[in-house]
């Protein structure tokens, strides 16, 4: 049974031509692009809400988000998240070369960097709460936590996907013919990063 993969390859090539779709883009990749397009509107709605509510109604209603931000700290965690996009690209490049060892290394690195970012967010939330900005404190705090929390959940889902792919790869279920799996997860991951760039700029940096 050593030739299972060869038999697979033959079956793949003959019965399932690579670009057997009208657009030449595989169904799954096109679906991911469409999903991400739709996500833009979800985050669009939440970012708009934050911009409308960025200051509390009155000063008595607790601190505004921009009074409690620790820009250097968040810059570092943003940098960590951006670097995870780099490792994700390296993972995709590795699977296309068929270098399974490096695929696993870079997937693990990406998941780890993502987890670092989420940990930083949890820490940041704890500090903000300690400084008197709870979820229900003011309209600004609700908007801030909802927007960044939604993003954090997206990163967490991405980490779960990365770890799942990593486990599948360790069990030998991600051959080169399935390279697109890694690429599709990568699309999602890059999207989550890009959204963070927008959130970091709009929410944290612009006064």
């Amino acid at each position: 049974m050593a030739d299972v993969s060869i038999r697979e390859a033959i079956h793949d090539e003959l019965a399932h031509p690579v670009a057997d779709t009208n657009t030449g883009i595989s169904n799954t990749k096109l679906a991911m692009w469409l999903f991400l397009a739709s996500e833009c509107l979800l985050f669009g709605g939440l970012i708009t809400t934050y911009l409308l509510y960025k200051t509390p109604l009155t000063a008595e209603q607790g601190p505004a988000p921009k009074q409690v931000y620790d820009i250097p700290f968040t810059s570092v965690s943003s940098f960590v998240l951006l670097m995870s996009s780099l490792t994700m690209v390296l993972a995709v490049a590795a699977i296309e070369r068929g270098d399974h060892h490096r695929v696993r290394t870079w997937l693990a690195a990406t998941a780890l960097l993502g987890a670092t970012f989420v940990a930083g967010q949890v820490y940041e939330f704890t500090v903000f709460k300690g400084e008197g900005m709870g979820y229900t404190t003011s309209r600004s705090s609700s908007a801030f936590y909802t927007l960044t929390g939604f993003h954090g959940v997206h990163v967490t889902v991405g980490i779960i996907m990365l770890v799942s792919v990593l486990l599948l790869s360790l069990r030998g279920k991600i051959p080169v013919s399935r390279a697109e799996t890694v690429e599709t997860v990568g699309l999602y991951w890059h999207f989550v990063d890009v959204v963070w760039i927008v959130i970091f700029a709009v929410v944290y940096l612009i006064p």
Partner: protein, 673 residues
């Protein structure tokens, strides 16, 4: 082929090689010939389409009963049938049910059943996600309706304006049920939209370029794009409302600076594309039916297509005409007045093209044709009253009166619903293999048209007289009595026409046992779904056709002489597919879509009552998603022909070689290679 050792083919994705004996739930169900399991675990787009339609009719009866209660309450001044509280719940649940659980799913039913047939596909791109979408819609809809059993329905109107939607003004759980139920139904719409867009773009048969697609398929594509971008905006707004109501956030809490206008904007940015995505599928159906019964090609195919696309784009720029009296300022009012006037243009183009299609045609007034003409005329009335809303000063007078109620029922019932009814009569043989009775159908049409106009026609007058909507009663002496009585009589006529339709369904089914099969093409139709047997075989097309022009099937039957006369060149039986193909590889059924979908209402109940239920639902969801991702593409021992359905890709998006029967010999392997 020397590379291939004799012996069983293994699943590519697992270590199981010699004896593949998957653990119970990780195998895929084997569908017995006739059983409820055949429907429960199906991934067949036709079965899913039929289930969408059936569920929508079920919710239609619920929403219709609510409407009858409303009309009975308004029969006379100071009615006492419903209390003010109950009346608020009735009109809220009526609107919500009709929009989200009737019109949208009937559109989805046609899109699911018909669109893959029209593009010559074997199934949709993601059959399991398709099943998930349906069960998710059903779960969300039943969850929403279950609010009646848990202390009453939502009471804020289907648009659920803040701050009335807050706990302060609506302390019961009705609005929570509304909110969470529609989030679940939104997930169904979103996954469905992605699935159907990929199907249209990727799975067209050879020769089926975009500009050769049937109009219904085009309108489905536009509709699904509208859903793709409109649903997340509503979902975002509903999450904000959920956090407000369940976790005491401050988004719409006016005391802490929450802005009710934020909800209005988010809701109508969703809500106006929503009305177009409800009407466009019906426009598509009418564009299929009118040419068939006029025996002429559709007039100006590219104009019909591009006006639909234009409606799709312009639909995003008119939302604030729902908010002219909310104080958005003169510049906004002017802008949205203008865009609202402009969007009437592509709609007018369609009306013109349909009229021109009928002009000079050999009209056959069958039931589907009557409903189509009904749509064109009734929608025109509704469209014209719609344009009057773009005149902001007039709209200021009309806001919140029955004039608005009259308008949107003319476009949604007179437009969308009549179109869907015509579509049902038209495609019934494709759905179930027999025709609906024509005489009963025509009686149904005339009774429905009469009831509809008696119900909603007088509401124009009531509105202009100043009768407010959403108020549970009215006083005598304002001249409202007579028209309210007419409307109530009309509503009950309308209900009896629906009963007549349901009777026709059962009557025709019984009668059909003594009638011959109507054959593939009972209407002498134009598009390729009519070249396959009625009812449609499980594999749709075999062989997959090659299309060379718009209305391809028509031109296989007919040719034009030099002086532009039609001559029949082939009998239908010569060009239709006989059916009876075997050995077509189709996606296997799956347990996981329904498990994943039904875990969501558990999470929703949990958010309202006890977070422990969320844990149960969450575990079920995660289990289902992993079961889904890891299940084999086929049931073991399944037949593997050379023809491949779209589910040969796993959920992670790569081609998965399909498991062959155990004990396959080399000769069979050679045929694969």
């Amino acid at each position: 082929m020397a590379l291939i050792e004799p012996g069983p083919l293994a699943l590519n994705s697992g270590g199981q090689s010699d004896d593949f004996k998957p653990l119970g739930v990780l195998s895929r169900p084997v569908a017995p010939k006739a059983s409820w399991r055949r429907w429960l675990f199906t991934v067949d787009h036709k079965k899913i389409g039929i289930m969408y339609g059936t569920a929508a009719m079920f919710f239609f009866v619920i929403g219709g009963s609510e409407a009858l209660l409303i009309r009975a309450q308004l029969w006379a001044p100071r009615g006492t049938l419903l209390s003010a509280e109950l009346y608020n719940q009735m009109f809220t649940m009526h609107g919500t049910t009709m929009v989200f659980l009737v019109v949208m799913p009937i559109g989805a039913a046609f899109a699911n059943f018909l669109m893959p047939l029209q593009i010559g596909a074997r199934d949709v791109a993601f059959p399991r996600i398709n099943a998930f979408s349906f069960w998710c819609f059903l779960g969300g809809g039943l969850f929403l309706q279950s609010s009646w059993l848990f202390g009453g329905g939502a009471d804020g109107g289907w648009f659920m304006y803040a701050p009335n939607s807050g706990v302060l003004f609506s302390p019961g759980h009705g609005i929570d049920f509304w909110n969470l139920g529609l989030i679940i139904a939104g997930i169904a719409s979103l996954t469905g939209a992605i699935n159907l867009i990929v199907t249209v773009l990727n799975l067209r048969c050879p020769g089926m370029s975009l500009m050769r697609m049937p109009i219904f398929t085009w309108m489905t594509l536009v509709t699904q794009f509208l859903l793709l971008f409109a649903i997340p905006v509503l979902t975002a707004a509903q999450f904000l409302l959920m956090f407000d109501r369940l976790f005491r956030a401050n988004f719409f809490n006016v005391a802490n600076g929450g802005n009710p206008l934020l909800w209005e904007h988010l809701f109508w940015v969703f809500g106006h594309p929503e009305v177009y995505l409800m009407i466009l599928p019906a426009f598509g159906l009418v564009s299929e039916m009118l040419p068939v019964f006029s025996r002429k090609p559709i007039f100006g195919y590219p104009f019909i297509v591009f006006s639909g696309v234009a409606i799709g784009f312009m639909g995003w720029g008119v939302w604030a005409h729902h908010m002219f009296v909310s104080g958005i300022g003169p510049i906004s009012v002017t802008t949205f007045s203008l865009t609202t006037m402009f969007i009437a243009v592509p709609t007018g183009v369609k009306i013109l093209n349909w009229t021109a299609t009928m002009w000079g045609g050999k009209l056959k007034f069958t039931t589907p044709m009557l409903f189509s003409i009904g749509l064109v005329t009734m929608f025109t009335i509704g469209g014209l009253s719609g344009v009057t809303h773009s005149v902001a000063p007039a709209d200021t007078q009309q806001t919140d009166t029955y004039y608005i109620v009259a308008h949107f029922h003319y476009v949604l019932f007179g437009g969308a619903f009549l179109g869907f009814m015509g579509g049902l009569y038209f495609y019934w043989p494709k759905l179930f293999g027999h025709m609906l009775n024509e005489s009963l159908g025509k009686a149904h049409f005339w009774l429905m048209l009469l009831g509809f106009n008696l119900t909603f026609g007088p509401m124009h007058i009531l509105g202009l007289q100043g009768m407010s909507r959403r108020i549970y009663t009215y006083d005598a002496g304002y001249g409202f009595e007579i028209w309210n009585k007419v409307a109530t009589i009309g509503a009950f006529l309308l209900a009896s026409s629906v009963a007549l339709f349901l009777f026709n369904v059962f009557y025709s089914r019984v009668k059909a046992k003594h009638l011959p099969n109507p054959g593939p093409d009972p209407w002498d139709a134009r598009t390729i779904e009519w070249m396959i047997p009625s009812p449609v075989p499980e594999y749709n097309f075999e062989p997959v056709p090659t299309v060379t022009r718009v209305d391809d099937f028509w031109y296989r039957k007919y040719a034009e002489t030099p002086d532009h006369r039609l001559v029949r060149v082939h009998a239908t039986d010569e060009v239709a597919q006989p059916g009876g193909a075997t050995n077509v590889h189709l996606p296997s059924p799956s347990y996981w879509p329904i498990v994943a979908a039904f875990s969501l209402p558990f999470i929703a109940y949990g958010l309202i009552y006890s977070l422990w239920l969320c844990l149960v639902g969450g575990i079920a969801l995660v289990t289902a998603l992993y079961g889904w991702a890891l299940e084999p593409p086929d049931h073991p021992g399944g037949d593997h022909g050379d023809h491949h359905g779209p589910d040969d890709e796993s959920s992670e998006g790569h081609a998965v070689p399909v498991e062959a029967p155990v004990g396959i010999d080399e000769k069979e392997v050679e045929t694969v290679g």
